[in-house]
């Protein structure tokens, strides 16, 4: 692949004991584009995310991230929190991981931890209530408020995150990830459990994030309407290997992909397709 890629995954493998969850996987994600990672259940998509964000150490392979200024970072060598902090990769989780006992606003404040730590002079300036800290804190609240507004949760800012409806929690988790001001945003099935209207709103939100913040997005999603609508590039995985990649349109017509999803072999899939059209 040519072009300006922010993330390049190179021959990534991840083994758990005997299970090979990801096998020799390579793909790129382009800057300011939405790249979708799709595949049937158990294909290894979440495992790829966990390797990118440092929660798992890959068994082999390289993951490179290049920032806008050309600064390149090898992610597989960094700890999970450093990937978020230094490489500016933010993520959400397949099963939502908010801080349920904290309010929506607090969730977004926690996301700005590193910036605020600096502003609070590693707590000491904050403890004495220095003016510079107060301004920084207000700025953080403003940023959080902006995001709450964008996801339509401004009126629920002071509600506990655990009390929000499911769809709101999903969006709040995205907003929380965005509050870290990431270069690359990794979303693990953000549309899971959403109804059609919420899915559409989500698509819009993601498109606006790409347009306004210029954030590159890597997206795992089962909801094909979302994938087809917003992604610029699609990577298809099955049993830990990449079986296809290309534009959404290209993928939609690929018999290998259909076979993987239907759990049949290729010839049958072609037959299904032909009988369908």
């Amino acid at each position: 692949m040519s072009g300006d890629s922010i993330l390049s995954v190179d021959r990534l493998s991840m083994r758990f004991g005997g299970i090979v969850a990801v096998n020799d996987l390579s793909f790129n994600a382009e800057r300011r584009k939405i790249t979708a990672l799709i595949g049937p259940n158990g294909a290894g998509k979440t495992t790829v995310f966990n390797c990118i964000t440092g929660f798992y150490k890959p068994s082999s392979g390289a993951i490179g991230l290049t920032h806008d200024d050309g600064h390149a970072i090898r992610l597989e060598r960094l700890d999970d929190f450093r990937i978020a902090k230094l490489a500016k990769v933010a993520r959400t989780f397949q099963n939502i991981r908010l801080f349920p006992g904290m309010t929506a606003l607090e969730n977004l404040m926690v996301a700005q931890h590193n910036a605020l730590m600096r502003a609070s002079g590693l707590t000491f300036l904050g403890l004495i209530g220095a003016p510079s800290w107060r301004t920084a804190e207000q700025a953080a609240i403003d940023l959080a408020t902006t995001w709450l507004d964008r996801i339509g949760l401004l009126d629920r800012a002071d509600d506990a995150a655990g009390n929000l409806p499911y769809g709101d929690q999903r969006r709040l988790e995205i907003a929380r990830a965005m509050c870290t001001e990431p270069a690359l945003l990794c979303l693990d099935e953000p549309a899971a459990g959403l109804n059609a209207r919420e899915s559409a709103a989500l698509s819009e939100l993601l498109l606006s994030i790409r347009a306004d913040q210029g954030t590159s997005i890597l997206l795992i999603e089962h909801d094909m309407s979302v994938v087809m609508e917003i992604s610029d590039h699609v990577v298809v995985m099955d049993h830990g290997v990449k079986i296809a990649e290309g534009t959404p349109k290209h993928i939609r017509d690929d018999p290998k992909v259909i076979a993987a999803y239907l759990g049949t072999d290729e010839e049958e899939a072609i037959a299904v397709m032909e009988s369908g059209t």
């Binding site: 902090k85 989780f93 991981r97 904290m102 309010t103 404040m109 707590t123």
Partner: protein, 439 residues
Amino acid sequence: MSANPAAQTSRAPSAAFILKKSLISALVALVLFSLMIGVRTEAGPDGQLTYWTRFGDLAAIVAAVFGGSILIELFRQWWGPVDTARIVPAPVQGALSLAGRLIAPVLLAFTFLVPVLFYDERYILDLGILVLTYVMLGWGLNVVVGLAGLLDLGYVAFYAVGAYSYALLATNFGLSFWICLPLAGILAAFWGVLLGFPVLRLRGDYLAIVTLAFGEIIRLVLINWQSLTGGPNGVTGIPRPTLFGIPLTPGDDGLAAMLGIEFSPTHRIVFLFYLILALALLTNWVTIRLRRLPIGRAWEALREDEVACRALGINTTTTKLTAFATGAMFGGFAGAFFATRQGFISPESFTFHESALVLAIVVLGGMGSQLGVALAALAMIGGFELFRGLDQYRMLVFGMAMVLLMIWRPRGLIGHRAPTVFLERKEAISSDLVKEGHG
């Protein structure tokens, strides 16, 4: 789940059912206590063990268990299933919430007045100092357990480090209390970091048991390192605190002489009272401030979900370490105060019981709630005093109280959580949502 049918039938148990249940309880009690209570062993003068029977006591206890279970069953029947939510009438609720808002300032004002109101009652003043010491320890441990969700069963170690730091620095180098106090805090924090660094990646119960082991190690070292710590005999002759250099003694350079008033030993007690009150309030103030700073929010976030914290770029190791060190530092301050108040310390004051007591105060208070911890300290230490006469049974009562209180209020007296920042309204968050951490 499987208990449900039982709960259904117990809603309206018949007399026969109650009788049967109580009989079973009595039977179990009979077997349990048969040998332990019914027979008493003791080594005679020749070192030979002898025994005698106490069937009267045994019968009394079994009868008590029988009667008790009947009462409990009747009570249950009247109260209904344990987990039914009780609807509190609105006016009562309003009054309760008003009381809730007033209780902290009233309590604080009262505390300030205690030395005035009870100037002549040495006993009350001493008890007040004791309660405040535990309030301070509770607030200190609350940072670790309540906010960061790290289970620390060896908190007494930092209390001990603080106490011995002051005692040894003061007796060996003649340093004054006001120089030693920060040193004691720093040393305790240092030990907190030293212990925390390797063990903080352990989860939950493992962390608990490691901290417990650490507390025991410190105590055993204090007992066995005779040349430094005086071993089991402890350190004596620890200097009393001064009012920034002015001693509270009857001498010419004492405070009383300087102020031109008559000397009274109560001055020192009152001084100690305000000293520990100031230290406790400092702890409280710092904790409340920290909660609104990124570090404090990170502690609470850590308690809620450590994985999510890491995904947000929070260095969980240093965050836990700061919580540990902060808690340890407050423990160290309290220890230094303890040493100067007592004038004598020995390893006996720093047993696991002490850690458990402080932890019980924190958990009973409602993890994370400053007011709850203060109330729990008052209730626990005050309750302890009530049983002063029954010295022998103290731990028995304390242990039973711990069990019953946990069953009664697993989330403590004040379980809800106050948000640290808000846009429009500050509403308490229900305890069902607040996590308790995994460490």
